[in-house]
């Protein structure tokens, strides 16, 4: 993308051309993103007969119900717990994997190859990758078998599968890639001369990490955080399957509500979640110009 004049100075012709080019995009996003969000917003104000029928109107009953329910707080706390744990682990693993690829692998082609090795699973099914933990973590799974054989434990561990631990493992397994790619992208742009100069000036490797690498990877970390946070907060099937029904998050409760046709309650909870998400994402976006980041 070329750095160009601000939109205020663009000519009417350039505006028209721009809109013509993006019009197909807009024609998809308006009916399939903007309109559905508005529908959910409207439904959250409707009354229901309890059987899936919606009565158009304006009532805040659903919001009162959601906000007054002790369950809501519990769901948000569970969701935040999963989000924070997943974020911490994906960040640590993602940062160091990217660091290894950029700063330790000396062969350019090898680095690209290893990078692709990390990204390939992104293009395969999430659900399959999730259920692939069953033969490992199950009560008779490989990990329990191994631990029993070594003699560390005498009873198979039941917390491995269908627990909060399994949920976090599945999230980290699926989402670390979303940290690796943007952080790798930022790190690859750090001028190596800068680091040579720092070494010549007597900086230790820890100083280089603290003063050069981390600050210059910040935008990648921010982008990765947006992906991880929004996916974990919007997820329901990992929580549902990997916790064995034992845990719930905001969206998995939404899923149950929809299942029993409680549309207004579900919609109200969805609107609240969306507001929370928008707040978090815009906070992160204040620290990074994502458009610049992608096109630089």
């Amino acid at each position: 993308m070329q750095p160009s004049s601000s939109p205020a100075q663009t000519s009417p012709r350039a505006n028209l051309a721009g809109w013509l080019y993006v019009s197909p995009l807009v024609l998809v996003l308006v009916p399939f993103f903007v309109a559905p969000i508005l529908v959910v917003l409207a439904a959250s104000f409707f009354a229901t007969d309890g059987f899936g029928g919606l009565t158009p109107g304006f009532t805040l009953a659903s919001y009162v119900e959601v906000l007054h329910s002790a369950l809501t707080l519990k769901l948000y706390l569970a969701t935040i717990k999963f989000t924070v744990l997943t974020w911490v682990f994906t960040l640590i693993i993602g940062f160091f994997v990217a660091y290894f690829l950029v700063f330790h692998v000396r062969n350019q082609l090898l680095a690209i190859g290893l990078f692709l090795l990390c990204t390939v699973p992104f293009w395969t099914s999430n659900i399959i990758r999730m259920i692939s933990w069953i033969p490992l973590l199950g009560k008779e799974g490989l990990i329990n078998q191994a631990l029993l054989a070594v003699g560390v434990i005498h009873q198979p561990l039941e917390v491995l599968l269908f627990s909060d631990l399994a949920v976090v493992i599945a999230y980290v397994h699926q989402l670390t890639i979303f940290m690796i790619v943007p952080i790798f992208n930022s790190m690859a742009r750090i001028d190596k001369k800068l680091i040579e100069a720092a070494i010549d000036a007597g900086a230790s490797r820890f100083d280089i990490m603290r003063l050069i690498v981390v600050p210059m990877s910040k935008s990648g970390i921010a982008l990765g955080t947006i992906f991880v946070v929004s996916i974990v907060m919007g997820d329901f099937f990992v929580v549902k399957v990997m916790s064995g029904g034992g845990s719930a998050s905001v969206v998995s409760a939404f899923y149950e509500d929809v299942g029993v046709l409680q549309y207004p309650t579900a919609a109200a909870s969805a609107v609240l979640l969306t507001l929370v998400l928008v707040a978090i994402v815009s906070l992160i976006l204040r620290t990074v110009d994502i458009r610049q980041e992608i096109t630089r």
Binding site: V22, V28, L29, P31, F32, F100, V105, N107, Q108, G141
Partner: protein
Amino acid sequence: MSAVLADMPETVAPATSKAIAPSRGGRPWTFYVLAALFTLYVIALYGPMFCIYVLSFQDIRGGLVFPMKGHSMHWFVDLFTQVRTGDVKGSFDRSIKLAVIVTVITVVVSFLAGLGFRKRFRGDTFVFYMMIGSLVAPGLVLGLGTGLLFQALGLNASWYSSALGAQLSWTLPFGVLVMFAVMSRFNHVWEEAAYDLGASRWQSIRLVMIPVLAPGLVAVALFGFTLSYDEFARSLQTAGSLNTLPLEIWSMTLNVTSPSLYALGTVTTIVSFVVIGASLGSIVLIQKKRGSSAKG
């Protein structure tokens, strides 16, 4: 995140033509620690998937965990012949068709939007953030909104209408972000040279831009196909009465406890790998051809 993937072979090379500090001498101890971390990460990434591929080749006595009980293709036959596992073949067909349609639309619309976003125009930021919103919004909520919208308009939800739109709201933001990265590396001199030689706008797009940007367009197609083929949350409320493959897998995870589930995982992953291999292969091929013709 898509940025790097799209044009890996061309981007990284100029940025890091020389390997990494410290570029001479022995490896510091951190190299070995990080190499171990990276290896563990890759094992954790592929290990579980590998387990279910292996387990899907058990014979009729097979269960969900190790040890392997015999080996045969029994569960693959079972998958496509048994009624109780659902309509696997039909959903497989639908998913492939849908993914092809989504891919074509994603490539065309993303390419046009990429052209549009090259210059600033009034409202471009608005369109950009609408796209980011579509990317981070919880898929299940958007799917429900789309489903309710179709219901309110008296339209039937089906995989080729509502689910198609819902999937595009997910694949297009990825496609456009990849296009951003690809376009930002496009040298405008070529386009201007084409104009100077008397090319029309359409000729410059068809004869200059599309050939130059071909690897990036293949990358967009890869995103379009795989993200649609594995899409789940947005399709759940929008696919209507006929399932796509991920929905079929989802219902199997809830009620099938035989290695058929793993067999389906193996089959769908093979399809993904074929698509990934073909895409990456053709990108490499295009680059290679270019390299040799530049020398010749």
